[in-house]
């Protein structure tokens, strides 16, 4: 799966969980400050990514990921 496809699917999960239009999301946005994710939503995002990509992430590492772009790269590591 190439990065562009991962990005599309990551945006889709973010828009569903945080109730945002995909156009409101940018790679350099941080989940908490720019996109307004609260504590539970951060965990819901991780759960959404796991389900979308059928992967199981390391929780501590996943919760360290701050921005959308970093999340794309982080997920890409699991899909190699």
């Amino acid at each position: 799966m190439d990065r562009a496809e991962i990005k599309d699917r990551v945006y889709r999960v973010i828009s569903q969980v945080l109730k945002l239009e995909p156009g409101q999301i940018q790679e350099d946005h941080t989940f908490t400050v720019d996109l307004g994710a609260e504590s539970v939503q951060s965990v819901e995002l991780m759960a959404g990514f796991e389900e979308e990509f059928d992967i199981e992430m390391d929780e501590d590492e996943a919760l360290q990921v701050q921005s959308v772009g970093s999340a794309i790269d982080f997920i890409a590591r699991y899909l190699k």
Binding site: S39, V40, V43, E44, M46, A47, E50, M57, E59, A62, L63
Partner: protein, 463 residues
């Protein structure tokens, strides 16, 4: 002023968890760097905690006497059951050394007889009577070897309550003590209101005479002295003045009146929230016995809590000393079943004593329970740390609750991602439905069943 000493940061190879004091298997050990000092009569007096710890420090109990003055009477069956549990709690070394009973009603005497019939060596059974020579008949008939008796010593009590003068009180009290000896009973003089008394004008003359007369009797019959801080006025701060100073009061007793530590006992009240620390301080300054009641129930604001003294004892000794700490929970459970209310935040036994609500604390608890638990409460009390779920618990709190509920340990434990649907349900209760109460265990169990059905079924199957 000289420049402050430089303090370079020390980075250890491994975390320094101060194990010498905070051995998680026991209540944190109380260590002393050196002696305690108090200025008395212009002299600096040294109290050595190590000397105190070398003495036979004990806990005594007055649950059935002062404890009953604060509540409707216990039934005979309740007293027998509690006595039996006190014996198990205190262990074979008799850390809970004595307990005292009233003798005035048939039920009082029946309870005493049935407790004695259990055959426990400890707690030894003693009694409590007014300072009335006629009451010795009850003591002798009950076969009790030691009795407490009222020897009130402040002018509030002597003049205003008893309507006597000091000389009359002095002679009457000594007369009752002599009567005890004549009856073959060891007297224990309860110096009521001692923290509001004239120490040099009445207390020292009386106690010194008591000790002088005690020299005429066998050592096991020597009069004991109970220092009764009847209104909770005692203070443990060094430098405080008599009669409120506990260090000075005890020093006066041991050095100026000749009371040996094994004959000296502290009995406090909690009117100023000082009851436990005053009792523990009395141990360190020269009293061997700390008088207590279960959960601190006693006249008005209560007495030193027995279970608090037990934990303090272990913390000072750094050893369980044969104490069965799990009995503390069993006794609390029994008291609750008898209708006694114990506040949820009450130390060691309250419902929430080791329950955390804040998400940030729950996160710490999830990482390592030692971060937010006082000691291994699962091992010592059979009560692992818990989280109570509210909007402040966060996903960390929910994860702990779910793992505890499912009985998952180590690698089996579910991470936060796995419990997110339960956490969402919790948050919606507050954010969407404006809930203001904590989520109950039953409600959470329903959510686990719905969102983690495989785990729920496995738990149900494993019983």
């Amino acid at each position: 002023m000289a420049a402050p000493k430089p303090w370079p940061l020390v980075e250890p190879q491994a975390p320094n968890l101060l194990d010498e004091q905070f051995d998680y298997r026991l209540p944190p050990k109380i260590l002393f760097d050196g002696p305690l000092y108090e200025e008395i009569d212009g002299k600096v007096v040294r109290f050595d905690p190590q000397e105190a710890l070398a003495r036979d420090l004990v806990i005594t109990d007055t649950t059935f006497r002062d404890g009953q003055q604060a509540r409707p009477p216990y039934t005979v069956e309740q007293q027998v059951r509690l006595y039996d549990m006190l014996a198990k709690l205190g262990g074979p070394r008799g850390i809970i050394r004595q307990t005292e009973f009233f003798l005035y009603t048939k039920n009082d005497r029946k309870a005493l007889d049935q407790c004695r019939a259990l055959g426990h060596r400890y707690p030894e059974i003693t009694s409590w009577i007014r300072a009335d020579k006629g009451d010795f008949r009850l003591v002798v008939e009950a076969g009790v070897k030691e009795t407490g008796m009222l020897t009130s010593c402040s002018d509030y009590h002597i003049f205003l309550k008893l309507k006597k003068n000091r000389r009359q009180a002095f002679e009457d009290y000594l007369g009752v003590v002599e009567a005890a000896w004549e009856a073959g009973v060891r007297p224990r003089c309860h110096l009521e209101d001692v923290t509001r008394a004239d120490i040099e004008g009445f207390v020292l003359p009386f106690v010194a005479e008591l000790m002088r007369r005690s020299e005429q009797v066998a050592p096991q019959m020597r009069a004991k002295v109970r220092l009764c801080d009847t209104m909770g006025f005692g203070v443990s701060f060094p430098g405080a003045a008599l009669p409120r100073s506990i260090p000075k009061l005890i020093y006066r007793m041991t050095h100026d009146a000749g009371v040996p530590p094994e004959c000296l006992e502290w009995h406090g009240h909690n009117d100023f929230h000082k009851v436990h620390i005053n009792g523990a301080s009395a141990w360190l300054y020269g009293c061997n016995a700390l008088n207590t009641t279960l959960f601190g129930f006693g006249e008005r604001t209560g007495n030193p809590p027995l279970e608090g003294a037990v934990i303090e004892y272990i913390a000072l000794r750094g050893d369980l000393c044969g104490i069965d700490t799990r009995m503390i929970q069993e006794i609390a459970q029994y008291m609750r079943s008898a209708g006694v209310e114990i506040p949820p935040n009450y130390p060691f036994v309250g419902r929430d004593f080791n329950t955390t609500r804040a998400g940030i604390h729950a996160g710490g608890l999830r990482a390592d329970e030692r971060i937010y638990n006082i000691f291994d409460t699962a091992a010592l009390f059979g009560r692992p740390p818990r989280v109570s779920i509210t909007d402040k618990s966060g996903v960390d709190g929910v994860a702990i609750w779910v793992n505890e509920f499912l009985g998952l340990k180590g690698e089996e434990r579910l991470n936060k991602i796995k419990v997110h649907k339960v956490a969402r349900w919790v948050m919606d209760q507050y954010e969407v439905h404006q809930r203001t109460s904590a989520i109950t265990d039953e409600e959470l169990a329903v959510q686990v069943k719905e969102h983690l059905p495989e785990h729920y079924t496995r738990r149900a199957q494993s019983g």
